[in-house]
Symmetry: C2
Subunit: 358 residues, 2 copies
């Protein structure tokens, strides 16, 4: 049973928590905005439910409240950014802004980030490009929960990719997806409801196929998009690997099995080859390719053609990437954000710890 909370209340609580751990006013507001964007867009696993997790990382000195984010290497169209152990929620928008500034100057901007932490949902960072008539791209590596095809070792994170593309009268195209068959958040939801997963989501610790939502907790793994080789899991594995390499190896962050875990109580991997976790951002000015107005007219035509495509019997319509999230955002801004009991309890305890009421 979920209760509805106004966005403003959750935003202000989150911001106050970030202030309590020492963030400046601007950093606290930025972190709260990014965090809550997940709740607004319906990605409940990446929103305020993780707030206490972020504070625990700060408690064990794995994140700094006010990082000194710096460019350590650059060319006119690229930068490598050191996140100085900052919250990813703060580092990511700063790095994406660098990509946007580079794009203003030379058409595109590409930023690889090291020494960062979990950055919330990828989509919100990619979407920063939209108001500048740019295409935005965001990706990140993450702690290993995913096996490469044929393996029983968890060597990759769910490594999401987000691409935001402006349109004209239509809402923008916003794709944001884990490179696994299903994101870990979906698994946690099924586990909570005591339900089985479809085939192709997880495997046991020995690599047998399974539909047990608790499998990842029991030493099993999430599967790359595709599920198994016959269904193209080598492609999901390749996508996750590309995200890992762009985010981790280009920047000098950790990668593969060495990406640090989100839960603060887990120990760090041994022999880590880099610093923190890595992200990768891109911004491409539309008018670096053709006039933005022409592009947007054709994007509208694309969207309208796809939306009106004939459906399989029983299906209402073809979904344009980003449409469901926009609809949820409008609904939740109006009616409130639903929080389940365990999250409410966690936030109450968090409030008590920092002398704030929830």
């Amino acid at each position: 049973m979920a209760l509805l909370y106004p966005y403003e209340q959750l935003f202000s609580f989150s911001k106050n928590i970030f202030l309590k751990i020492g963030c400046t006013e601007a950093n606290a507001a930025s972190a709260a905005k990014v965090l809550l964007s997940a709740d607004l867009r319906g990605v409940d696993s990446h929103g305020i439910a993780r707030l206490s997790g972020y504070t625990r990382l700060w408690q064990v000195n794995r994140v700094k409240a006010n990082p000194i984010i710096s460019i350590v290497h650059e060319t006119p169209s690229t930068a490598t950014v050191d996140g100085d152990k900052g919250l990813g929620l703060i580092v990511a928008p700063a790095a994406m802004q660098i990509a946007i500034n580079k794009a203003k100057n030379v058409g595109t901007g590409w930023v690889s980030v090291k020494n960062s932490n979990h950055f919330g949902i990828a989509g919100i960072h990619a979407m920063m490009a939209l108001e500048h008539d740019m295409i935005g791209i965001a990706m990140t590596n993450a702690s290993p929960l995913v096996v490469p095809t044929f393996s029983v070792e968890r060597l990759l994170g769910t490594n999401p990719i987000a691409v935001a593309i402006p349109a004209g009268i239509e809402a923008p195209f916003v794709a944001d997806f884990a490179t696994t068959t299903a994101a870990n958040g979906k698994l946690e939801m099924l586990l909570r409801k005591n339900m089985e997963t479809p085939s192709g989501w997880v495997q046991t610790k020995n690599g047998a196929s399974s539909t047990d939502a608790a499998e990842v907790k029991n030493g099993g793994a999430l599967l790359p998009l595709g599920g198994d080789k016959d269904h193209g899991s080598h492609k999901g594995y390749m996508l996750g690997s590309i995200v890992d390499i762009f985010s981790g190896i280009l920047s000098g962050a950790n990668y593969g099995p060495w990406v640090p875990p989100f839960p603060a109580y887990l120990s760090m991997p041994e022999n880590m080859p880099g610093e923190g976790i890595g992200h990768f951002f891109g911004a491409m000015r539309i008018d670096a390719f053709r006039p933005a107005i022409d592009f947007k007219t054709h994007m509208d035509r694309w969207i309208q053609r796809f939306r009106s495509a004939k459906t399989v019997a029983g299906q209402q319509k073809v979904i344009i990437p980003g449409e469901p999230e926009t609809a949820i955002e409008i609904e939740r801004l109006n009616e409130g954000i639903p929080l389940i009991e365990s999250v409410i309890k966690d936030l109450q305890e968090l409030g008590e710890k920092f002398g704030l009421s929830f």
Copy 2:
């Protein structure tokens, strides 16, 4: 039953055919090299088996033998290229070279191409970046064979993505994959052997799931990577859409259901919104992010860690993207390229038509 042919013989036959349709020496050599790279790397559906198809496109005036490839719009890091109806086999390397040149100047280069045709395998274009210590990216849209999730209308091509990443002592990482569960070439192979497909590859014209390899020929469709919604097909649909938009809409080429078909006997779509088919290329200088030597050392460590990962019982090893193709290339350069009877017959007829013996 396949016969083995030396690479040199197939290269020289292909080059001579391209000369016969009027290509310059340089264009004929470039086209033959790109075409044969598919046979060398084991992507038999995209190699010399398509040679007669390319000549038929030339016969109906859909491709020019010697296009005047031009930059119609540019910034320091981007270009939009007009392929002038050239063979994609010739346009693509020229466009990728522009991306590489831009990367030399400002760190990265990004080129969207309109008015082109089928460009062979994506991987070979992405790999052009490797010798410059750059990451190479290549993608293309293609004629519609793929349904968006929930639809019965074929609105997307198999829209492949290739990413080539240099390593140190290890062979480069080369991913090259259609954004469908399985490429159309694999379907054709099963059809030829009268075998069924696994689930999740195709659907009937009414959108029912099917394992009939003839489904696409009968009005059905290929499915996006994932197969169905439960298994993440919306992610494959998003990936195919991103490729379509980057290749088609950024450049001013056709997109979605309006991408022209490869077979010359098929009529062109009505109300086409752009020119020809579209590609998208990227080149990123490694040392635009960090010293190439550091990057390569870590790529080697990444590759070695993944290659030595513990496998599921019965599996030999985890495959590094590009490794199988490199192995096939070595084998085929040594032992010859296998051609099946129907392809041999097609090439013999093609030779007769142009006064060349095969």
